[in-house]
Symmetry: C2
Subunit: 321 residues, 2 copies
């Protein structure tokens, strides 16, 4: 696009390489993910990469303060369970300490309140039992969790900072490229749109005695662009759009599809996100919602989202391109 006299503006991929330090674990994780994709791909199983949780954006290089995004990781963790139920193998790229599949059901419980030690005594003697009342449904959950682990269907990968997230996403895309259209990207993480380049960051903790704080943040390069075009061009890619203002939601979702040319956007509003989403594709727009009765029966909206998208993924795989 750039003419002979206009210098090309840097690509997202170029900015990733230049502006975000490569975390040390990336190579080892890439190998793990590639092996996981090959193993399940050759067994004829689809593989979904789920991203989940918010990203941490440091304001100082020896970080005391950081910018974060509201996200417990519930959407990603719950969706992982439903993808596993639908026969997918799952790479779960999640924020350290965000909600985790199955364990998320007991995230509000203090472990120590769910255990009892029996018998008198001191120190390490005594039998420990589980108060199943404090952990509703625990036996069924443990059985399912053990089966998933034994079958090697869930590969957890952790990130904390934005840099880690971006580089691990690229590594995942490359690792999954070997299985072509059998790969789905389900990008549910709440990724920061803004960051401070390392070169502009103070080394030490910002002193409050210096007065009010002015922070100037640069826009994060949009990785959806190289992901769809270069890293995993055959994959089925879903992005998420969260807004607080419902009036701009669908227009933003359509604009994202036009810009990045991927397969679907799951659009949702902060206040209603647990009971209502719209799945937007270039040619369709489906509202998914829970009735009061669904909520009483413990149905989760992620079951509907995953069912919709896994059907669409099936059609996508079957369609010659």
């Amino acid at each position: 696009m750039a003419g002979a006299e206009t210098p090309a503006s840097p690509t997202a991929e170029g900015r990733l390489a230049e502006e975000f330090a490569v975390p040390s674990q990336v190579e080892a994780v890439r190998v793990q993910m590639a092996e996981f994709a090959r193993r399940h791909g050759s067994a004829g199983r689809r593989v979904v990469l789920i991203t989940s949780g918010g990203t941490k954006v440091p304001l100082e290089s020896r970080t005391v303060r950081f910018l974060d995004n509201f996200s417990s990781g519930r959407r990603g963790a719950t969706s992982a369970e439903h993808f596993l139920d639908s026969g997918y193998a799952v790479i779960f790229l999640h924020r350290h300490r965000s909600l985790y599949p199955y364990a998320r059901l007991y995230a509000g419980v203090n472990l120590l309140d769910a255990l009892r030690v029996e018998g008198e005594g001191e120190g390490d003697s005594g039998r420990v039992t589980v108060d199943q009342g404090a952990l509703p449904g625990i036996t069924a959950v443990l059985r399912r969790y053990a089966a998933v682990k034994e079958a090697g269907l869930l590969l957890p990968v952790e990130f904390s900072t934005l840099s880690e997230y971006l580089h691990l996403l690229k590594a995942a895309a490359q690792a999954l490229s070997s299985i072509g259209s059998s790969a789905m990207f389900y990008l549910a993480a709440a990724v920061s749109d803004f960051y401070i380049p390392a070169s502009e960051m103070p080394e030490h903790k910002i002193q409050s005695s210096n007065g009010p704080l002015q922070i100037s943040m640069k826009m994060v390069p949009k990785m959806l662009s190289p992901l769809v075009k270069d890293w995993a061009p055959e994959a089925f890619v879903i992005s998420f759009k969260l807004e607080t203002d419902p009036s701009i939601l669908l227009e933003r979702a359509r604009r994202a599809l036009d810009t990045y040319r991927h397969q679907a956007v799951v659009a949702n509003v902060l206040d209603t996100r647990r009971g209502y989403v719209v799945v937007v594709t270039p040619s369709t727009q489906d509202e998914l919602s829970l009735t009061e009765d669904d909520v009483h029966r413990g149905v989760e909206i992620e079951e509907r989202i995953v069912s919709k998208l896994s059907a669409a993924h099936g059609e996508f795989i079957a369609t010659p391109r």
Copy 2:
């Protein structure tokens, strides 16, 4: 201090009332804390208020993004255990989901990896047992935790945002004023120095399509000042100073003591905080540190800090003022 013609600058307490919305739970929590203080005070027990974890500072009123402070809450949670061992009753004012006394020992363990379901079957049948290898020392910890709970020695109070923290701190100080010098304030929370006033906050999620982000943050009023002067003037008050640059640490600690006139500062540096601190008082300066042997034996620096401060608190109570 203000002359007849200079308008007095607003006090920290005035700014708290004007600029930070009162969270709904404050009144109920104040009553709980006052009752807790009275009960233990009349039993001749000292009471410590521990603050722990970082504060969340929203950037939007329907919050998607926020500024946070690095803090797992380890210092506060570990110290709470040692204060309980030293005979204190503890109000544990902590960030939601930060580390919790006793449970913090297993924070890295996925609950589901520590439990086993025995026997074949489906659904909710089956016995659940604990893999004690996954939870080292669990029986002793459960016994101690149960004893603390049964004696009603630990009152947990949660906050998430800076506003909640500030108002709950004030409520705690007022609740503890009835027991005079038997109260200690151990202010280990990593409280933001900066915030955005509600009046300057956008309602909706900041759009990344509007370009780079400029954030302008105001300084948070220092609550140590009214806490020491007005809310709990007889109490024994400890603040914490965390820096990344060791060369400015002690000067900052001394300056805080000069400014706020409280009893001690625990000064520490980010990189070495788990093995080295300096306890600074107006007339003393004590370095506390762990030897390699201490570390091998599982000794924690908080044991030393609490031992030092609880002795100093005893002297403080005995000294006529």
